[in-house]
């Protein structure tokens, strides 16, 4: 355990010393996570994990693939922004850990598009650190990322290349305690890659600390299959918070979610259709209402996921 804390501390120091700046910071990925206001760093236990906390894919017991589509700021004429996400997790073995692939895309037609391709690996590390799994499950992961942005420049800027790409990585750590406490850490865009066209424009390094709690039946209020997550995000000298709550009802098939962050409030739900051989089809929906942007009916996100052995 001391070794794990030492690694955690070292990683945090390295991550927080990075230079900060630029685009790619917005997270609109994964409908379950969005239903929880984007607070997912300490939860991170499904195909949405690659973009929140790569260490979480080590806790996926089954293969899983998820596909998300969205419509941001519906109701605003002249604003057409779509965020799409594809995530897949493949647990290899307990010894070799899990691998993942994820693609996220944020685009505005005829204006700009930002794509991220992610190749992740994570593993439980109790055996290496000699920590009892009965007390806490520890996992660590690395996410290699290729970032690409494409801009439809105006006539006078046509001499600039339309697209720009760079490689970087995320790292993640996750501790799941026997008593329901969960601690997550994720440092994204670790190398702060330069994505500038004319000037240096480093993608902001984003450091996220997550604290979560899971209970099969929340004491005193009897909320079944309850999960909570509070994320603290450090980016470009700013501190942000995200909060998410989730409960599963109807024999753990219907998930109800609530969350929020500084700019918006979120609600969501998901239903799991269980088939033979423990295969599960999951339909998730999330809604986000921004506080400051006027005349919008909010942003809508929907995802189909499939989990199987």
């Amino acid at each position: 355990m001391k070794k794990f804390l030492a690694v955690l501390l070292l990683t945090i120091i390295v991550a927080m010393s990075q230079q900060v700046y630029a685009a790619f910071e917005d997270t609109y990925w994964g409908v379950r996570a969005l239903g929880m206001g984007g607070a997912f760093t300490a939860v991170a236990n499904d195909a949405n994990a690659p973009l929140y906390n790569i260490a979480g894919i080590a806790n996926c017991g089954q293969k899983e693939i998820t596909l998300m589509g969205s419509r941001l700021f519906a109701g605003l004429d002249g604003v057409e922004i779509a965020a799409n996400y594809l995530g897949a997790v493949y647990p290899v073995t307990e010894e070799w850990g899990s691998v993942s692939f994820a693609w996220s895309s944020l685009g505005t037609p005829a204006l700009a598009r930002y794509d991220t391709f992610n190749l992740g690996y994570a593993r439980k590390v109790n055996d290496l650190l000699e920590v009892d799994e009965e007390f806490v499950m520890l996992s660590a992961g690395l996410n290699l990322k290729y970032l690409r942005q494409e801009i439809n420049f105006d006539e006078e800027d046509k001499d600039l290349s339309d697209s720009k790409g760079a490689v970087t990585c995320d790292i993640g750590l996750l501790a799941t305690f026997e008593n329901g406490l969960r601690l997550g850490f994720s440092s994204k865009y670790l190398t702060s890659p330069d994505m500038g066209y004319e000037e240096k424009d480093s993608v902001k390094n984003m450091t996220v600390f997550g604290i979560g709690y899971f209970s099969e039946l929340l004491p005193y209020v009897n909320i079944p299959t309850f999960t909570a997550d509070l994320d603290l995000i450090l980016i470009d000298g700013e501190t942000k918070f995200r909060l998410g709550l989730e409960s599963y009802v109807l024999d753990d098939k219907l998930g109800i979610r609530l969350g929020g962050r500084e700019e918006a409030v979120n609600i969501g739900f998901g239903y799991e259709f269980v088939f033979a051989n423990e295969a599960t089809l999951i339909v998730d929906y999330a809604f986000e209402l921004p506080f400051e942007i006027e005349e919008s009916y909010g942003s809508h996100f929907i995802a189909l996921s499939f989990r199987f052995n």
Binding site: Y28, V79, D127, E156, D157, V167, G196, E292
Partner: protein, 385 residues
């Protein structure tokens, strides 16, 4: 033991890659590898038929080509076409015109085409290397089958009152649905010839609305009655970008317009659908398009280091009391403009009120123009470093 070795190896790889990524700047090897991951084929986008006047139409192809992986190649474009089954001609003759990546251009056939002309055409784009050798050719449509266009501005159909029928008018653009009247049995007081004629819209531009398409619907004999509503589908054309239309009617050209309800706007097929009970003129107007457009920034992408040369995002025509707010994609306000100059309000990529703060980050932003009267106009812009 085996479990431990596997775990240790995994961790060593993980840490090794982390250290390498942290140390290696700018990671040229991995970037280069990712850049050559696949070949993206060029893609042609175009819209076909333009109405020039009530009599003449023209094949004025509005084209843009996404070069894909051939962005460094030289490219030329031309149209191969034949009129009424005649010989295949090229416009422009020879290799065609030089084009640029994603830049919109036009190729116009050399002669005006009469009503009821058939044109088969194919857009051909050749990509050449530095020696001028063709390395890739793409066409629209792909394959050998050309695009077929029937250039008709008037359609006539004999309709038997007791049977009804469909009077259909080709849009001239094969991607979209057509203008048509669906006449149910016993909707007309007597048998008649029903005629739809497309008219030019040049004389119908105002400061607050812009007419997208104009049709005259009439009959021979002229004095028939419509006993029950006719379902009318009007194609509004490829140019409007609005999603909000108004359908207006007048019986004679000298009358004033009156609005009639649209039952459906089909953005996919670029049509509006309404139930009509009179013959006359039907105009499709883009609602308040011109008013909104006048405030929106003409340039939607600005580069930080070039703002001093080309200017920032200019919101024209705004006055005291109007406000422009700039938000990140995540919905956080980063800038606000409350004052400007004679031209309008200009956002120079700075945070805070009236460009008083630090530079904003690269990225796409949502703007909202709030006019003094309360109207809110929204859009997106991209700020690039």
């Amino acid at each position: 033991m085996k479990k431990r070795i596997a775990g240790l190896l995994s961790l060593i790889v993980l840490l090794g890659v982390s250290v390498y990524l942290y140390a290696a700047e700018p990671l040229r090897v991995l970037s280069a590898f990712a850049s050559f991951g696949g070949v993206i084929l060029p893609k042609i986008t175009h819209t076909a038929i333009e109405t020039v006047s009530s009599i003449d139409k023209i094949l004025n192809a509005k084209i843009s080509v996404d070069f894909g992986s051939y962005s460094n190649a030289n490219a030329t474009a031309r149209i191969d076409y034949s009129v009424d089954g005649g010989s295949v001609e090229q416009e422009p003759p020879g290799e065609g015109i030089t084009i640029k990546n994603n830049e919109e251009f036009f190729i116009q056939l050399p002669t005006f085409l009469e009503s009821s002309t058939n044109v088969d055409y194919q857009i051909v784009v050749d990509f050449r290397d530095e020696q001028g050798t063709i390395i890739k050719t793409v066409t629209f449509p792909s394959g050998t089958q050309p695009q077929h266009a029937e250039l008709t501005d008037t359609i006539t159909k004999d309709v038997t009152a007791s049977v009804g029928g469909v009077v259909e008018f080709g849009s001239g653009n094969q991607q979209y649905d057509s203008t048509k009247l669906e006449i149910a049995p016993n909707s007309l007081s007597t048998d008649a010839q029903i005629i739809i004629k497309q008219l030019g819209v040049e004389d119908y531009i105002s400061s607050t609305e812009q007419m997208a398409a104009l049709y005259q619907v009439y009959s021979i004999p002229a004095n028939i009655e419509i006993l029950s509503p006719i379902k009318a589908t009007f194609y509004y054309g490829v140019n409007p970008t609005s999603t909000d239309f108004v359908l207006k009617y007048k019986q004679n050209d000298s009358d004033s317009w009156s609005s009639i309800p649209i039952t459906k706007t089909d953005l996919q097929n670029k049509t509006v659908i309404a139930n009509i009970s009179s013959l006359g003129y039907y105009g499709i107007f883009e609602k308040a398009k011109e008013e909104d457009k006048s405030y929106r920034p003409k340039n939607r992408v600005r580069v930080k280091s070039r703002i001093s040369t080309y200017g920032g995002f200019m919101f024209k025509g705004l006055k005291d009391g109007d406000v422009v707010k700039i938000y990140t994609i995540s919905g956080k306000k980063v800038a606000e403009l409350t004052v400007g100059n004679a031209d309008g309000f200009e956002w120079k990529g700075r945070k805070g009120t009236n460009n008083s703060g630090d530079w904003a980050s690269s990225g796409t932003y949502v703007y909202q123009i709030k006019l003094k009267g309360g109207k809110v106009i929204s859009g997106t812009i991209a700020f690039v470093w």
